[in-house]
Subunit: 245 residues, 2 copies
């Protein structure tokens, strides 16, 4: 939960009461999943909105012949689409990467938020808009960036998103993705991911070993990935809505 609050507070400052409501909602229906398990499958009826409390997960889609694309990653503090439950069926699957803890948030919780807690509501809107922007940026990456630019870009994005959630050290963070995961996310073959990683490593842009990523020089990596952080909208803009305590 703290990861969500930490993230949202980059946009809107919440009151103690706001934080308490979020804390309660996230403590109610908590579930744990093993690594490499589906939380939801394409075709399922969406019931609740999931909040990731701990661990990494992803959305993915698959073609009949097995080709698989990871369309987004869920990091701690991320929420899947607000209001999904108005749809009849999932158009994609959600699977875990590591072991994952989620909280299921009910329709009623959101009804309550949207009528009585405008600051949280605004923060949720912001979260959703940023997720859309991330999806657009992935479209950009897949369409225009070369393999190494694309990888560098993804490393920047994940590093910054983790930092917002308070999940980085100085210049390092956990990084549990396998090269196969990276391949599925970047639309590249495993072999080429491997070679591209070697390239980034020998340029001393990243150190990636034992599920830990070190970014010695973020600015440099951003340059290589043609990374512009504007799409993450990390400006404290909700000021007019700030709580006073």
């Amino acid at each position: 939960m703290s990861h969500l609050i930490r993230k949202l507070e980059h946009f809107v400052r919440l009151s103690g009461a706001d934080r308490a409501i979020l804390g309660r909602a996230a403590a109610e229906r908590v579930r744990n999943f093993a690594p490499r398990i589906d939380i939801a499958r394409e075709g399922d009826r969406p019931r609740d909105v999931h909040l990731i409390l701990a661990g990494w997960a992803c959305r993915y889609k698959q073609l009949e012949d097995g080709r698989r694309q990871i369309v987004s990653f869920f990091l701690p503090g991320d929420i899947c689409d607000l209001n999904v439950f108005i749809l009849r069926e999932m158009d994609h699957s959600i699977g875990t990467i590591t072991s994952v803890t989620i909280a299921d948030l009910s329709r009623e919780f959101f009804d309550e938020i949207f009528v009585g807690h405008p600051r949280i509501a605004t923060a949720f809107w912001w979260e959703g808009l940023v997720n859309s922007a991330i999806q657009r940026e992935w479209t950009m990456s897949l369409g225009q960036r070369t393999a190494s630019e694309r990888m560098a870009h993804l490393f920047c994005e994940i590093f910054l998103r983790l930092r917002l959630a308070g999940l980085t050290r100085e210049d390092s963070c956990d990084f549990p993705l396998t090269q196969a995961d990276l391949a599925d996310a970047m639309g590249l073959s495993k072999v080429h991911v491997n070679r591209t990683l070697q390239e980034l490593r020998s340029a001393e842009l990243i150190i990636l070993k034992g599920k830990i990523l070190i970014v010695p020089n973020l600015e440099q990596l951003m340059n290589v990935g043609l990374f512009n952080a504007n799409y993450l909208h990390i400006d404290h803009e909700g000021r007019q809505l700030d709580a006073n305590d």
Copy 2:
């Protein structure tokens, strides 16, 4: 306006009053744009939510070195992100393809909808969720589909979206995109788009000439594009919210 209503009614049946409200909102602040003009630019402060009344537009992003990616198309009846105005600046540009007529919808209009008109609010939510799903599907296309699959898929998507808005004849529709537009949208070179089109044409999957697209056999085209319409969520699911008149 009628295109928006027509589209939304695939999900929620609206009342006469609902339709009237939408009609009024869309008549208030109407603007016209010439073809190949920017409606909004990356970096601008977002002021209003735009509703496309007529014509085709697109969102696009550009890298410093000029590489350009169209990340989505706007067709008549489409709305750009709800609540964009809470963000400080645009992370992408919006440009016209043809001449375009838009209506600017204000913050106040949405406040009114979300408190007093739950059916419209639900329909807007649905619209937004479908747009997210479309963006994910583009990620899938760019990451996994081959050039010809990708093109076939796009033709299917556009044809179906236009049909929802009431903008197709039997098996044909307007199609004002140039091969350069297609290239920017599909992450391919112009030359390769040209060759891929020839391939689809000689397989008699499409007839594309003079800005008119004919799809002689949609089912066949869907097979080639590995197209599954589930992501458009065109099931009349909001039934419980239907108006009675």
